[in-house]
Amino acid sequence: MHADPKGVLTGVHFLDGDHACCEGTLAAGARFAAGYPITPSTEVVERFAWRIPTVGGIFIQMEDELAASIAIQGAVWGGAKAFTVTSGPGFSLMMEHIGYAAITETPCVFVNVQRGGPSTGLPTLPAQADMMQARWGSHGDYSIIALCPNSPQECFDLTVTGFNLAEEFRVPVMMMLDECVGHMTEKVVIPESDQIAITPRRFTHQSPEEFRLFKPKEDLVPDMVKAGDGYRFHVTGLTHDERGYPSMNVETQDKLVRRMQDKLKPFTNGRALFEAVNLDDAEVVVVSYGITSRVAQRATQMARAQGVKAGIFRLITAWPFPEQHIRELAGRVKAFVVPELNLGQMVHEVERHAAGRAKVISVPHAGGTVHKPEVILKAILEAAR
């Protein structure tokens, strides 16, 4: 299925990442958004509020992020594609509902334009310090998908991808922008609508009598219905059986929680999205994502100019973590260098999957600006020694 042309602003634009992300939601078919203002992410919904009345849909500004993050899920069960947008403190408030989306398998998108924390932190300045929160922030065991664009163009492209993945796997998808990517303005090319692939909702073809709301298909993902179609279904955040009925026992819990984890297994290898730059002959690999990957690009060029074979493995799906790719690389490179605008988060994943077979060097940064390329270069040179 292709994008509905009504939402697609085909053409060559000069947009910042937040606005490009908004165009991505519209192209992806999102017709409902709920938000609560917070810097540096508000522009996404400001644009949506401006655009949506002529496209055909609704934006509602809710009373807080708790409300926004559950209103979108009501909208999804009503039949919409829906998303919310936030940063820092607002992302913290949304955590309970990320868990709710996970256990109810509600396809939806959370855009987080990361700023410096903790708490109110640095409202207008960048960080990448919510990466672990995106993965683990809600209580209990569950899995999500997190995407990290590094340009306004990718803010558009990956937002479409994010909505598609949410529908395919029925998980909440986190769009993990950072303040720099959100606020940098670059050329953004929006294709014709028939060039944009859209994953439709997996609506069941079964009758209400046959249908079971949480009975998984072969890919471990159940088909869906929406309210008002006569299925008389029940959705709960309690542990539930295939009918969706609460079931407080160890077996149901085990089956449900494992399935929620296992349905994203394809991402640890084949489905992982990444960009490989100069990896063929690399002895040092910079693992990076978001704005930091663009600084890493400069640093690896400088390293190559000094005769060190450096490359980049750029995480696009940060979660699920591309374990197998790191394992494979660890077998043939000398070292990984992991610069992040946090004091070391994704580096733990790299270490875990490198499993001692290659050196791993963290290049932490508390946020507020980006790394200096020289700092990453220094780590690369050290790693090559």
Binding site: F32, P53, G74
Partner: protein, 296 residues
């Protein structure tokens, strides 16, 4: 509601069965709990409303009352604690032909969810909120909540509640609700009728139902069992339709003013939105087609 259905021989199947998920029975509620009574009234209201039940959805938060959604034979959502109203808001806006009922407890709707309640009332969101007010957090063991009257003993107020409580009907009116009523589980006919009435009324509607929790609230406060609760409600309730909600505050043992207090017409959220957009955008305004995500 017809009187005939209240007058049925014992060997007949219960007339409310079609409105319940019988495959989930028995329910979890204690004997003599008032929640079941309210559900019975709700089922009868659904029946007499003649609404297409495929187009009625029910949303609950968390608590003993929060379990209502799971027993109703409707599209039903058991959400998170306090957030039934914002969930219902999204559901209603994405699929406006649904009649969306929020069914939850006093703690859920007025403590953790209090902010959502006043904002949904302010917007006149077209949802119907039924609050089972048992004056306590029952599910978690009978702690003090925002509706617990002073002097009551609760699990977290062993020496008696001293903080003032909310007057729920006054708050609903002040925040903008289109319809506000209060009944008790003693007033089953009036409650059923009120529920039926709101199923046909546009805008944000609120019904508070005083309901006994014999297991925790009644027992701890030496108020007897379920039957004693009925006697108490009968004794202290005064029907005063149209009473100013400011005069309807509840105390531990004092008068319970019941009745319909507010019934007014205000444009609801979607009407306001549509009006504003048409006014400013004219022909450029596109009617929301929110639920199109399956089409090719």
């Amino acid at each position: 509601m017809s009187d005939a259905i209240l007058d049925i021989p014992l060997d007949m199947t219960n007339p409310v069965e079609p409105f319940l998920r019988m495959d989930r029975m028995p329910h979890i509620w204690c004997p003599a709990c008032g929640i079941g009574t309210t559900v019975n009234c709700f089922a009868r209201a659904l029946e007499s409303s003649k609404l297409d039940l495929n187009k009625v959805a029910i949303v609950s938060g968390i608590g003993c009352t929060g379990r209502v959604a799971g027993y109703a034979n409707l599209d039903s959502f058991h959400t998170t604690h306090g957030r039934a109203i914002p969930f219902a808001t999204g559901l209603k806006l994405s699929n406006p032909e649904l009649q969306v009922v929020v069914y939850s407890g006093d703690g859920d709707l007025f403590a953790i969810g209090g902010n959502h309640f006043i904002h949904a009332a302010r917007r006149n969101m077209d949802i119907k909120v039924i609050c089972v007010n048992n004056l306590t957090y029952a599910m978690t063991g009978g702690q003090t909540g925002p509706a617990t009257p002073t002097e009551v003993i609760s699990a977290t107020s062993p020496y008696g509640v001293f903080e003032p409580s909310f007057n729920l009907v006054q708050m609903a009116e002040a925040a903008g609700a289109s319809y506000v009523a209060r009944w008790t589980t003693y007033h089953v006919k009036q409650l059923s009728r009120a529920m039926e009435e709101v199923l046909h009324k546009k805008g944000f509607c609120f019904i508070e139902v005083l309901s006994p929790c014999p297991t925790l609230y009644q027992r701890r406060n030496k108020m007897g069992d379920g039957l004693d609760a009925m006697k108490f409600y009968k004794q202290v309730s005064k029907v005063r339709n149209g009473a100013p909600t400011s005069e309807c505050a509840l105390t531990r043992a004092g008068e319970i003013v019941v009745g319909k207090f507010v019934d007014r017409d205000r444009p609801d959220y979607l009407e306001l939105l549509t009006h504003q957009m048409k006014e400013t955008l004219g022909d450029r305004y596109a009617d929301p087609e929110v639920t199109t995500c399956s089409e090719g």
